[in-house]
Structures are given as structure tokens and as C-alpha cells.
Symmetry: C2
Subunit: 268 residues, 2 copies
């Protein structure tokens, strides 16, 4: 995802923000990462709803849907494929932690192809870093992402596509940049995210669409052993959609089981 | 702490940073807040050492002491009293969590008096938010400060100076913007910070100086009950120095016990 993106800050074509913005000072804000497919941001309404929900959790004023649609128009024609990041911070305010500020909104559009992954499936590792529990922030895609940064820093082997994150109690949470699902005995399960992790839009869509398709799909308390015992493991996020996992450390899943049915559901 | 600070970014008199700086994108960086007293940043060497230690924890290249001293000169004459914030981020890099970037350093100097507090002591409340455990980040003054922001957002009564933070297990950690000490039976104790919290420069100085002065001073596993049972409670940070606590919720400490001996130690 090389290259310089087009940027829009509070509706203006600018490329920088005040150095004292609370997004930088304290990570006081939230963001969304969207795929641009066929010249349009995929799952736009779902992303806007999640942005509003995350802002509400932090008592942060969320820009309205009309304003964000106007911003999107102002960015200019979208590429056929690309990535759009929407960031909302608490903006500028007095020094100190008190949550006072005038929100800043940042749109960044990368006009470059989406990351590619092998059709045979992803290769995953298990990260050493364990996620801490913070129910007040769990599920939110906020700007406090140092745990993800540290976990992603654990490997630089380009054949490893994703890292599995466990929490301090050893429970399964997610990937570093994705949510995880497993299929076992006719059930589609994904870790509960009420203690830590990010509850992504692709995950919510899949839970909903799988249910509508007559599959049993639910959140559960899971462990690494559940992944290893699964008939199939899947990872999803807004950029890569849903992908099957081919290898996790020394465990391999050579054959697809449920993914051929699930992937078209999410992509529909 | 009103007013616009003077800013220096990577040695240049600028006021904004690229919107894609990893400090904003992920809170990927660290910072220091120093008091300017009599025209000089107080405890400069200790702050630089802590900045370097925190950068090392995040595998972030720390600007050298000479470079930061040059930056300080370039900021121009310092006020008699003021606040200096030094921020180091992982700067600009490719999109994604992988910790790759060219560090950004930001100096901000507020030419305004230090916050004032009553001589009789501080008034504290107990925050509802409980800090999560993350040993990989514990002690570091990193830019992921949403827990502090949420905790500080719990009150707006200006007569309350600070909030007490407990962790998810109910252990005592710190104040929202300060470290805490208690005095009981001839011992000066402060919470261990290996699971969460920020290990500030004032705290480290006080631990060291109290020991040199022949007092027993140590880190310990403490609870709220230990604070309430203390003969005296103290809060410290780099801006306010060391202050005695007069009131915590309904508990009052009308008389100073050890603070008249400790405050000159830290200020020396």
C-alpha cells in the first residue's frame, strides 16, 4: 500500500494537522479503514454506523453522514481499487486529559490496489503479546493501538499474513488486523470482544449474514485450542474481506470446509 | 494553561504534523511534560533519560540529548514559568501496524504560569474507570492515554484536583495525572507499576531522594484501603512537584505529617 494518499481535513484539501491535536497527544479518537471497490467505499453505511457508535462510547461528537458524504465527494473521483481511512479525533483543546476539544475529521484515500493474499489461504502465527482487559474501550476502533503495533512488530517474515492475539488470561481475541472465526460441528464461532479487541464491520456483517443464511453463528469464550481443533478457521476485515486460514504455526488445514459458502455471503 | 504554545517540529518552527503521522494514526509514540522554573526545564536530565528508556521499550529511535538541547535553544528564550512538552512519535511510515517510520519530535512550550493548588492540600476522588493490565506498556508515558482521558472525564468539579485510579483487580495504581505515595508507620510507599500506570520522573526522584535521606521508601502492592489508612497521602508529578492530599472522598487529613520533610527533598 505504497504511495501518498489524497487527504481531506475538516473538509479542506490539507495534509497536516495541528501538532497539539488530541488525536496525537493522547490517541483521543477513533478510525475506520474501508476498501474502495469498483470506485465506491464498500460497506459505507455499516462503517458510518460503527464510527458513530465508537464516537458515542468516547463521548466524541461524530460528524454526520451528510458531512462525510460531502467530504467523500470533495476527495474527488475514487480509484477503482483503493483504501479509505476516516479518522475522527477530539481535536484541539486545552492542555491536559479532560476530554474537551473541537473534533477533527481526516479522510485519507490511497489510490492503490488492495493487498493480495494467496487463494490457498492465509498463514498465521501466534503473537507473544497478550492483550490487556479494558471493558471501557473493548470493541472500539480507537487510536490507542500500541498493542497492535507491538504485536505486529514481532515478525517480519512476509509469508506470515497475520498474528493471532490472545488476552492476558490466554483467551482467544482476534488477529492483529482482523477478526477470527472458526467452524466446528456445524457452528460458526467468533471470540467475544467485551474485554478487549476491535469488533470490526466485516465480523458484524458475517455474524448477521450467516445467521440469515440459516447457519448457527455466535460469539463465544474461545481458546487457542479451539482454533487448533476447528474444522476451518477464517479471518476477516474490511480490506481483505473473509479469507480461510491455511496454516497456523504447525497446524494446517489443506481443504476448505465452509469458506466456499461464507465468502460469497460476505461479498454479496 | 491557556494560550498558544511555541512549537518546534523536527527542529523547525512549525505548528502542524503530517496527518498520517503514526503518533496520530496509532498513538505510536511517547511524551514528557516538564515544568519550566526560573527559565529552565526542571529535571531535564532525568526527563531525557526517561524519554530514552520509554523509546527503547517501544523500539523507537530516541533523539539524542544534544539534538534535544539544540531544539530547546531554537525554541527561543524560555519563560520564567511554563510548561514544556516533548513528544517523540514513530513518524511517517507505510500504512498498517508494522512499526516502521522516521521518528518525529515535537517540542511545545506554554509561556504561562504553572497550575496552582491550595497550600492546605489537594482534594481527590476515586475514579470508576479501572486500568487494564498490560505489562508490555506499563510504566511508559506513551501516547495511548484514552484510559486517562476517560477517567478525567468523570468529573468537572474544579475543586477536585485529581482522581485516584485502581486497576481491574482493585489494586491502587496512581492518580490520573500523578503518582501517589502514602506514609504509614515510618514507611513511604508507592504502588508498583509493572502491570499498568506511568512511572513518572517525580516518583523516581522521590523514591531515590527519600532513601538517600534515610527514610524507608519502597514500591508495594497497595489497595484503596491502604490509602485511607495512611497517616499522610501525597501526589506528585513534574508540574506540581509533591503535594499533600487533604481530602479523598470523605476521608480528610487535616495535619501534615511527613510532607514538610519530603517536599523540600524533591524541590532541592
Amino acid at each position: 500500500m505504497a504511495g501518498t494518499p489524497r487527504l481531506l481535513i475538516n473538509g479542506r484539501a490539507e495534509s497536516s494537522v495541528p501538532a497539539l491535536d488530541r488525536g496525537l497527544a493522547y490517541g483521543d479518537g477513533v478510525f475506520r479503514t474501508l476498501a474502495i471497490v469498483a470506485g465506491r467505499p464498500r460497506w459505507w453505511e455499516a462503517h458510518l454506523a460503527k464510527l458513530a457508535a465508537d464516537c458515542a462510547r468516547l463521548q466524541l461528537a461524530c460528524p454526520g453522514a451528510d458531512l462525510l458524504a460531502d467530504d467523500l465527494d470533495r476527495l474527488g473521483p475514487l480509484p477503482d481499487q483503493g483504501v479509505l481511512r476516516i479518522t475522527v479525533t477530539r481535536g484541539l483543546g486545552p492542555r491536559g486529559y479532560a476530554p474537551i476539544g473541537l473534533p477533527t475529521r481526516i479522510l485519507a484515500c490511497w489510490d492503490s490496489p488492495l493487498p493480495e493474499y494467496p487463494a490457498a489461504g492465509l498463514r498465521l502465527r501466534v503473537c507473544n503479546l497478550r492483550l490487556g482487559h479494558q471493558p471501557a474501550l473493548a470493541g472500539i476502533k480507537h487510536l490507542n493501538r500500541l498493542e497492535n503495533v507491538l504485536a505486529r512488530g514481532e515478525w517480519d517474515d512476509p509469508t506470515i499474513h497475520e498474528g493471532v492475539l490472545l488476552d492476558v488470561d490466554g483467551r482467544l481475541v482476534s488477529g492483529v488486523m482482523s477478526n477470527l472465526f472458526l467452524w466446528r460441528e456445524g457452528r460458526l464461532l467468533t471470540p467475544r470482544l467485551d474485554r478487549c479487541g476491535v469488533a470490526g464491520v466485516a465480523r458484524a456483517r458475517l455474524l448477521c449474514l450467516a445467521g440469515q443464511a440459516g447457519l448457527e453463528a455466535a460469539e463465544a469464550d474461545l481458546e487457542l485450542a479451539d482454533l487448533l481443533a476447528a474444522e476451518e478457521v477464517l479471518a476477516c476485515n474490511s480490506l481483505m474481506g473473509l479469507r480461510r486460514v491455511a496454516i497456523l504455526e504447525t497446524r494446517a488445514w489443506p481443504e476448505a470446509v465452509i469458506s466456499p459458502r461464507l465468502i460469497p455471503l460476505l461479498d454479496a
